[in-house]
């Protein structure tokens, strides 16, 4: 399957939350009751954005200065917890196209990559600097260059990392692997026949 090659992402940013933001925070379990992902965007960070009466809370995601942001700035171990793809689906449908963090939880990282959402990491120090710039000048555009593994923000440049396999998949347009997986049908059949627990009994 030919997919879009994701070489860079450019957009304004919103700084969100701190460390160890879990998937229940990203999309509370009570909003997982659905058979399609279509409307998940509206429930992204629901309990961060809304109080118990459904009123807007004071947080960066509700701050008009960050309206239109397409890059989410997170902390350490972002996306820990559940394997729910609902989390990156909600992030994507809300309008985000990339996430910058100090580190990501493994399953979340894989799920995001499969949806074509680059998850790049920067040092804690640089993350602090990025947050400072974004908070003081919310309209500054960031460019995440996946080929060069750098982030440009205002006149500053930061080294960024991404797992090589994810980087290659994104920049070559292979981030959704289903097409490649389907090609190996014959080898799969052979292996299934060799593994006795998989053979029809």
């Amino acid at each position: 399957m030919a997919l879009k090659k994701i070489l860079e992402v450019t957009g304004t940013c919103v700084p969100a939350a701190g460390d160890d933001v879990d998937t229940d925070r990203i999309i509370p379990a009570r909003y997982l009751k659905c058979v399609t992902f279509d409307s998940l965007g509206e429930f992204l960070f629901y309990d961060v954005r809304f109080d118990e009466n459904g009123q807007l809370k004071n947080c960066s995601l509700n701050d008009v200065r960050f309206n239109g942001a397409t890059i989410l700035i997170a902390g350490r171990n972002f996306g820990c917890g559940s394997s729910r793809e609902h989390a990156p689906q909600a992030i994507y449908r809300y309008g985000f196209r990339a996430i910058v963090a100090e580190s990501f939880a493994e399953i979340f990282f894989g799920n995001s990559t499969t949806l074509g959402i680059p998850c790049v990491t920067v040092s804690r120090h640089d993350l602090g600097r990025i947050r400072k710039i974004v908070e003081s000048e919310p309209k500054s555009e960031m460019t995440i260059d996946l080929t060069k593994e750098t982030i440009r923000l205002r006149r500053e440049k930061f080294p960024a990392s991404i797992l090589p396999s994810a980087r290659d998949a994104l920049i070559n347009g292979h981030w959704d692997p289903i097409g490649e997986l389907l090609q190996a049908r014959g080898s799969v059949e052979e292996r299934v026949a060799q593994l006795s627990y998989m053979a029809p009994g």
């Binding site: 009751k33 609902h86 692997p177 289903i178 997986l181 389907l182």
Partner: protein, 476 residues
């Protein structure tokens, strides 16, 4: 040089290297449930794909099922739509489905092992992060997203990067009143909630050698809370004895062949791990969480941390957690009043959990003002408890005895916290809002500690509450 179980199972299931460096891995056993599969089936239909190995996928319904009244249609129309969707998808693609009327329904990570579907030397994937549970049998088992559920349904394979292996030894003897749950909470506290990122955890040492399968499952279940998407124990006689005679276990001549094959997957004595960590069981005490991630935990005898004394790096997280939990820096956790007690989940919802608790609650009463619910992990667990009269012991003690499901582990069914209720819970996650109320508070602990909290009305040391009577903790 020898190999680890992880490397052997990986090699047996690796189909090929994909161009961008990941491995196309054969998934021997695929488990599905109602929350993360409907969108995958929709993707299959959209792409016009079939399911070539329907016999290698098994389904059950767990997250959204009510645990009180089970008559359909469910009062929640969304839940009702989800169970109907699962039924339809399984029927259309020829997938075995342990539905409610089958008597085999339950939490997917309880059902797989008790049916004998979970076997050593296999790869197991499920759209649920607690799939690590199945590693207790020496399987390489891990949680996946919905696009990968689609991949496994359509190809019986998925793309995944190889992990490193960290061996975690727990030597010595656990003290009385300290359980498998305390072991894993302690490991997460010490190694960090992201310490396992990039690793499969191989658990071993005397404590694991002596653990029952259900205790091993409790530990492997929460590997993901430590950041490791895979956690496993090498199979041994305990494993084989558990599996013998189960519905999907190999039978007759096949049984012996299977056991020999399983033995061949055990990590070699001269294998090399990427990392090794040792723990002394004697140092572990009953452990409870106090914060908003499973690593924020203390021994029952300890006091909460003080943000001002923490590193600058940690201060913000500690303060946020204390604020959400409405607890004071430096206070003892013991004596914290509870409003709800939840006993169940894929971590601690098996027969041995209820049997152990029953020993202590017989003849006692849940404290006034505490809502205590006991939720078997599967219909089979419920039936076994009933046979032993355990359900009666719970109801006589003032617990509500419910039907099988995920229940209050996460707020996807009617069992939810209300407002800022504090819940003593045998489940696996204490994230903000996890138990269904955005301001709800969760304190994770072992089942016996949950029971002690339910009876005392506050978080307490079960070892003190339940003595000096002649009960012996941990007796099998």
């Amino acid at each position: 040089m020898g190999k680890t179980l992880f490397e052997k199972v990986w090699a047996a299931h690796a189909i090929r290297e994909l161009p961008h460096g990941q491995t196309q891995l054969l998934i021997g056993t695929h488990l599905i449930h109602e929350v993360t599969s409907p969108q995958a089936f929709a993707m299959l239909r959209e792409l016009g794909l079939s399911v070539p190995y329907p016999r290698r996928t098994f389904a059950t319904v767990d997250h959204i099922v009510p645990t009180d009244r089970r008559t359909e249609p469910f009062s929640d129309p969304l839940a009702d739509e989800m169970i109907k969707e699962l039924r339809k998808n399984c029927a259309q693609f020829g997938i075995t489905y342990f539905d409610i009327p089958s008597g085999k329904q339950g939490i997917v990570h309880v059902v797989g092992p008790e049916q004998g579907i979970t076997q050593p030397g296999t790869t197991i994937a499920c759209g649920d992060s607690h799939t690590s549970t199945h590693g207790a049998f020496g399987a390489i088992a891990f949680g996946i997203g919905t696009s990968q559920v689609r991949d496994v349904l359509a190809t019986q394979t998925m793309a995944i990067g190889k992990l490193k292996v960290r061996r975690i030894n727990v030597y010595g003897e656990l003290s009385a009143g300290t359980y498998a749950k305390d072991v894993i909470l302690h490991l997460i506290r010490k190694l960090g909630v992201n310490g396992g990122n990039g690793f499969a955890y191989e658990y071993g040492g005397g404590v694991f050698d002596r653990f029952t399968m259900e205790e091993r499952m409790t530990v492997c279940n929460m590997s993901i809370e430590g950041g490791a998407r895979i956690g496993y124990v090498n199979p041994d006689e305990t494993t084989y004895a558990y599996l013998e005679g189960r519905p999907y276990s190999p039978k007759g001549n096949e049984w012996e062949k299977a056991v020999n094959r399983w033995k061949s997957y055990v990590s070699d004595s001269d294998c090399v791990y990427d990392d090794v960590v040792d723990f002394d069981a004697a140092e572990i005490e009953p452990t409870v969480t106090w914060g908003i991630n499973p690593g924020q935990a203390v021994f029952i005898s300890e006091r909460l941390p003080v943000p001002e004394k923490a590193t600058e790096d940690q201060r913000g997280s500690l303060a946020e957690a204390l604020e959400h939990m409405k607890l004071r820096p430096g206070q003892p956790i013991k004596g914290t009043p509870i409003q709800v007690a939840f006993l169940g989940s894929c971590t601690n919802g098996r027969l041995s959990d209820f049997r152990e608790v029953a020993k202590y609650i017989e003849g006692r009463r849940v404290a006034q003002g505490v809502k205590a619910i006991a939720v078997p992990g599967s219909q089979s667990v419920a039936a076994a408890c009933k046979k032993l009269g355990i359900d009666r012991i719970f109801t006589e003690a003032g617990f509500e005895w419910r039907e099988a499901g995920c229940s209050m582990c996460l707020g996807m069914n009617p069992d939810k916290l209300v407002g800022d209720q504090l819940c003593a819970s045998s489940s696996n996650r204490n994230f903000k809002g996890r138990q269904g109320s955005p301001t709800g508070r969760t304190v994770l602990m072992s089942p016996v500690m949950v029971a002690a909290a339910a009876i005392a009305g506050e978080i307490t040391d079960a070892r003190q509450l339940f003595t000096p009577e002649s009960h012996s903790f941990n007796s099998k």
